[in-house]
Amino acid sequence: MDKTYNNKAWLLVLPVFVLVALSAIIPIMTVVNYSVQDTFGNNEFFWAGTEWFQDVLNSERFWNSLSRNLLFSFIILCIEIPLGIGIALCMPKKGPWVPVCLVLMALPLLIPWNVVGTIWQIFGRADIGLLGHTLDAIGVDYNYTSNIFDAWVTIIVMDVWHWTSLVVLLCYAGLASIPDAYYQAARIDGASKWSVFRFIQLPKLRGVLIIAFLLRFMDSFMIYTEPFVLTGGGPGNSTTFMSIDLVKQAIGQFDLGPAAAMSLIYQLIIILICYVFFTVMSHTGADKPEQGAAE
């Protein structure tokens, strides 16, 4: 769509700008403020320069929680994206069951995040939980509060349970937008199921898959509540992800300087990825009208 150039449009954007500026720029400036200053209490602050940033970047704690977080995001992406595509491909295209499926699948997405943690906390307990009890009964030694491996498996299964539906719904919507003519053409050609998937469905899903991929990356990179409720970052520090570590430092220990420096580095990583996401997104957006015209 060709848009007219009109700077008066700023007036329409102004309320959003003011509101988001209030809740984004002022807090970020507070963080920047803390990150370059030191305090000995009594609201007296001293200029500290880049000291906190050097501290954070040299601390093992930061790199550990960052690498744990990256590993976690990597694992859940490897599981959730293919699983989501697979389930979306198997969904019925129309009929009375479609809304039922959609509502049931979307249900985990609307559960408050700490309740998700509580559900799995209960579910995994050997004494009162179905999963823990069953595993115990068949002789698997499973305890997510003391065993690092079990804690990780539980958190990953919980995240897959919680978020795979998002990928399914996105892919399902993407598949639903493929015109029937494509399938008819493939049928006339006698295309195999695999080539239908590889040459029709996958290219058409590219847009939604990029979104699913990045949304899942962002959200898993910011995960806080669910593992906090389930394991509290333990056993030891084995499930202390970036956000948990940050909150521990900022509110638990009140180390404002290092916490602020870490916040800014954390935010920077996400903004960088966000920028890549935005460029890729606008490129796929540019492809779409051409494809539509070719149909």
């Binding site: 700008f17 969904m91 609307l110």
Partner: protein, 298 residues
Amino acid sequence: MADTMLTPSTPKDASGNKIDITKVRTESSIKKQRSLKWLVPTIYIILLMLPIYWLTNMSFKTNQEILSSFTLWPANPTLANYRVIFSDPSWYSGYINSIIYVVLNTIISISVALPAAYAFSRYRFLGDKHMFFWLLSNRMAPAAVFVLPFFQLYSAFGLIDTHIAVALAHCLFNVPLAVWILEGFMSGVPKEIDETAYIDGYSFPKFFIKIFTPLIASGIGVAAFFCFMFSWVELLIARTLTTTDAKPIAAIMTRTVGASGVDWGVLAAAGVLTIIPGALVIYFVRNYIAKGFALGRV
């Protein structure tokens, strides 16, 4: 793209008869597969429902039964756990608090996002792309970064423990989201409609409310759904900004850990009750969800 799929394996002048045969063959094989295909979403949904079922199951049991025996369904279903929640104001006020700030947040987000989304979908202006990117980058901001500054900011204004504080704080990620979703829907409305309305003598506010808003009603529905959802599930910010009067239910749930251990039955009942509003909302917008996702705007 369609041409590349027309592989040379097709007979040059395929007679109608031949195509018919392949059609019949593939259709019957599709039918066969469909009966198996049903299993995958079914198994997936069953696995999704198991933990939720377990929570529901526990909520109808007494603590005695939960701890002493392992039963797949309540032997003596009891509503006692729910009665505890509905008879104690400190419990049920949590639900009211949550709903108040979620609704406030949804109204604020949608009403400021509507004009902005219109501007982004219809006009180019100084710094529009940067503005849009900056807005979206807020959707990606980790809540953990904002907890402490938010607390200080709202303390300075004396807004701690009010519903409006949480509603405003949640705007950080919901307003960009609403702008993004609405912009997608608005771009689907042809520009000629605006122009015709202006020629007919409509002023901008009148046109926007009388003609434009009804056209994107489903978009507003989808945007409201996502605002509701993300405000409802968020806890870290909501918990930090409230102490007693506006405390969300999700935070009150931690109260069940008492001196005598965890009151599992009440905890489960409270959990089940937090799922219900989400389930209701999703039921009402079920026909729009697929469309909202199809735009790829989440």
